[in-house]
Symmetry: C2
Subunit: 199 residues, 2 copies
Amino acid sequence: MEINRSDLSQKFIDLFVGTLKFTEEEFELMLSHFRLELIPRNFFYLKAGNTSKQKAYINKGSTRTFTIDAKGREHILFFSFEDWWIADFESYYTQQPAKQYIQAMEDCELLCISKCDLDKLEDQIPKLKALFEEKKQKMIFATMTNLNEVKSLTPEERYLNLVKKHPHIFQRIPLQYIASYLDIEPPSLSRLRSRLSKK
Amino acid sequence: MEINRSDLSQKFIDLFVGTLKFTEEEFELMLSHFRLELIPRNFFYLKAGNTSKQKAYINKGSTRTFTIDAKGREHILFFSFEDWWIADFESYYTQQPAKQYIQAMEDCELLCISKCDLDKLEDQIPKLKALFEEKKQKMIFATMTNLNEVKSLTPEERYLNLVKKHPHIFQRIPLQYIASYLDIEPPSLSRLRSRLSKK
């Protein structure tokens, strides 16, 4: 649906007007290509097999990105919160079918822009191109860190990292998803939390 | 050391002269900023704590990129072969100390270019900038695939994927490194190979 200025989170305004110093004209031009999508909790923003034709900025809410293996088991790769951009990025950049599922864990407000519009807009506003080049770099770093953590840390250490990064995660995300992300069973996560809270 | 044209692998020439259609002048200009580094087997190209000040193209040989955790255990993130570019990319782009180690598994010939020179060269030759932007994207896809495989596949499935991608890997890389990459013990890998070879 159409976006009103009052829909925009302060973080979105800070990013473009504050950090990137968009002029009023640039901001207006950019916004004219975005639209607002509301995804209720548990609904899917993207399913594997479909093509990721747009990028979405999380204005409000949180999502989980996961894959499903040949035996039907889910594997959560990461969670996303406000001020993150979501897509199956391989699918987005190659325009091939996605391998990932993106599901809302809370009611989500997403600010979406199509690949076609964003490609054109990046040519018109070089600051926007630079933003997404920087985001690509950050995504490499974050995914490499994630890979290294999965390979080298115990579930307890990964739990502690997660809580440090997102102190309110247990108030927002069902325990079962956090357990799945840590590759442990929900009762083990409950025991872990209870043990660590007594320390 | 200085590079002679005769040092260059056919893949390097194919990439720049063939695929990217560099003119003779562009190719000459680019080469003038590269130098050849020879890293004997088992020696380190980069150690965690140092800063990744250059990118290197593997002209010949192979490397392993790994981290060492607080308990002193190594975790191999990936192997690299001919026609790959190596660096600790987070360190390279941020110029902060590297978290990764890069070690030659075979005698390596690396074509190296400093970040400072490459940044300048990318402005002079836009095709070069486009190449590395595309490489960044591919790195996101590869790291995400790697993460997903670690989370969702059994060691046997990861072994089969590895051999499919690199059929001669066992002729080139010590078994202990492949076992470490698969997060299994070397005797388990030997049993796995022997079992699968009888199928």
